[in-house]
């Protein structure tokens, strides 16, 4: 569950970076949708680890796709091969799989591609047909990554500025027919994307699993910091780190999610 891992490679890809981390124990048991919890800077003002989805597993190597959004991710993006990394994982509950032969939709917003990439690899292996919809701000966000996804799935891209694929959001991309014939859907992205997607899937009667982002402290379910509103009776909270980060979208109380 915990590891002194080693950075093997850091590849800039546009405004993001792809880290390859040697962490055999974690790699061996990680499932799509699970995350790792990383110390980003020993001698830093940061008291918390940073949660990152597993982007890929190849042999004993974990892939992590990260966007620099603050000091912690900047630190991470500046690692060099050979640097040690303190990682906990795999943590949380990932996506439930699909049946072989099914056609499923994967809907990603920005770095939300990370867990869905891993999921697509696994689903493909299991003979599930994947339609991948990915929206981002601009073509430059993730370097060549979008082009390489073609091998993995039936991939459709959208950018807000129209520099790659369709112009608009990933929901525009889905349009009226994107989910036609889809048995189930998987998503990861900002809640501004997940919310309407939830409605769309509900209307279409397609079961949807979403991975949510909530700020985390412990990452293991002990501090109750990463509360996600659920429609339980009475309405309460689940913990993103332990009960999620993947939830069936019908269990979440979207009214109380911003």
């Amino acid at each position: 569950m915990r590891l002194r891992a080693v950075v093997e490679e850091v590849r800039g890809c546009g405004d993001a970076a792809l880290l390859r981390v040697g962490a055999p124990e974690i790699a061996a048991s990680a499932a799509p949708g699970q995350f790792v919890h990383i110390i980003c800077g020993e001698d830093s003002p940061r008291v918390l680890r940073r949660p990152y989805s597993v982007f890929s597993v190849e042999g004993g190597t974990l892939g992590i796709l990260l966007k620099v959004t603050g000091a912690g991710s900047r630190w991470l993006a500046c690692r060099r091969p050979g640097d040690p990394l303190d990682i906990l994982g795999p943590l949380g509950r990932g996506y439930a799989s699909a049946a072989a032969g099914e056609e499923v939709a994967l809907v990603a917003g920005g770095t939300g591609i990370a867990p869905l990439h891993f999921l697509a690899v696994e689903l493909r292996r299991e003979g599930v047909g994947c339609r991948l919809f990915w929206g981002m701000e601009s073509a430059s966000d993730f370097g060549h990554l979008p082009h390489r996804l073609g091998d993995l799935a039936d991939t459709r891209l959208a950018t807000m500025d129209g520099t790659l694929g369709a112009a608009g959001t990933v929901l525009d991309l889905l349009g009226d027919s994107g989910l036609d014939g889809v048995a189930r859907a998987y998503a990861c992205g900002p809640s501004a994307m997940l919310k309407p997607l939830h409605r769309l899937c509900e209307e279409a009667g397609i079961p949807l699993q979403v991975s949510v982002e909530e700020r985390m402290a412990c990452g293991v379910g002990a501090c109750q910091g990463c509360a996600v509103p659920v429609v339980d009776d009475p309405p309460g909270y689940r913990m993103a780190c332990r009960d999620g980060p993947v939830f069936p979208s019908v269990e979440l109380d979207w009214e109380r999610i911003e």
């Binding site: 569950m1 003002p45 700020r215 412990c218 293991v220 379910g221 501090c223 309460g236």
Partner: protein, 302 residues
């Protein structure tokens, strides 16, 4: 040389505990640290009835610190006794229940229920939670009010009674004295400090509950001073917490008057922190030729 120590009548295998609200039932950390090696576990706040806690976001990181506004999320004392306590007790280390309430009757009724519990080592009376609108802190601001509550709880329950104080009072010594007078067996210092942060992009508070409590190394110097003030004021054992992250921090707390320390925020970064601290303390005692941590308590040359 031994790390075992006595805190207000509670026999601790080591003087390093897991702080309230940060360790769950232990189970959560089971794969990451040896829970059996702890000096004790203090439960998350337990209230009479189930409590949903505050709306998210509940966390925000600040320079060397953490804001939380979890609030008193828990399933109520009955569920606690039924579901959590057995798991907490399964680790074989002392378990202390953090007792909170929204009114005097709440506290007392919960205490009465806890009286039935077997295996409990003590109570940490939480009169200092900055994360609830009613109750909590309101009992911790005025010595007279605090003393009244402590005395009433004291009558209800026989277990060792630690009172967890707010550091956010100008005359901490008076507060400590009032609580001691009212029958507390020990003090627990400090709870988080009332704090706040705002997202300048959205103009909204970083926390759903608007304000929260600051923990972590940022506040350690305030906690050290609070422990020292309390130590000078009263002759009660003190459980210190607030930013303790290393054995050096623990020694500092012992020197200003703590008998034991609790670790909260540091667990999130390194779940093994309490064990590493215990190991460090052991080596420190050995290197100084000391027989137990008691020989460090309050020994600051001030």
């Amino acid at each position: 040389m031994t790390l075992a120590t006595d805190l207000a009548g509670i026999r601790l295998p080591t003087p390093v505990l897991a702080a309230s609200g940060t360790f769950g039932r232990g189970t959560e950390y089971a794969g990451l640290t040896d829970v059996e090696g702890l000096g004790g576990i203090i439960s998350k706040a337990v209230t009479l009835r189930p409590c949903a806690g505050n709306p998210p976001p509940r966390l925000w990181e600040t320079p060397c610190g953490l804001l939380n506004s979890v609030g008193l999320q828990n399933r109520g004392v009955e569920a606690f006794l039924r579901e959590d306590l057995p798991e907490l007790l399964s680790w074989g280390v002392p378990v202390i229940v953090n007792l909170a309430g929204f009114s005097r009757e709440d506290y007392l009724e919960t205490a009465r229920v806890l009286r039935r519990a077997e295996g409990l080592s003590g109570i940490e009376l939480n009169i200092s939670c900055p994360n609830v609108k009613r109750g909590g802190l309101q009992f911790g601001a005025e010595p007279r009010v605090a003393a009244g509550l402590v005395a009433a709880v004291r009558e209800v329950i026989d277990l060792p009674l630690l009172v967890k104080l707010s550091p956010n009072v100008p005359a901490l010594g008076e507060m400590a004295a009032a609580v001691a007078e009212a029958g507390a067996d020990g003090l627990s210092l400090v709870n988080t400090f009332p704090a706040m942060a705002v997202d300048i992009r959205t103009w909204r508070p970083r926390l759903g509950a608007v304000t929260g409590g600051l923990s972590g190394p940022a506040l350690r110097p305030l906690a050290v001073r609070a422990v020292w003030e309390a130590y000078k004021a009263v002759d009660l054992p003190i459980l210190a917490c607030g930013g303790v992250s290393s054995w050096e921090d623990a020694v500092e707390m012992l020197l200003v008057g703590a008998r034991a320390v609790a670790v909260g925020t540091a667990l999130f970064r390194e779940p093994r922190t309490p064990l590493m601290i215990a190991q460090g303390l052991k080596e420190y005692l050995l290197s100084k030729g000391l027989a137990n941590v008691g020989q460090l308590v309050g020994k600051v040359l001030a």
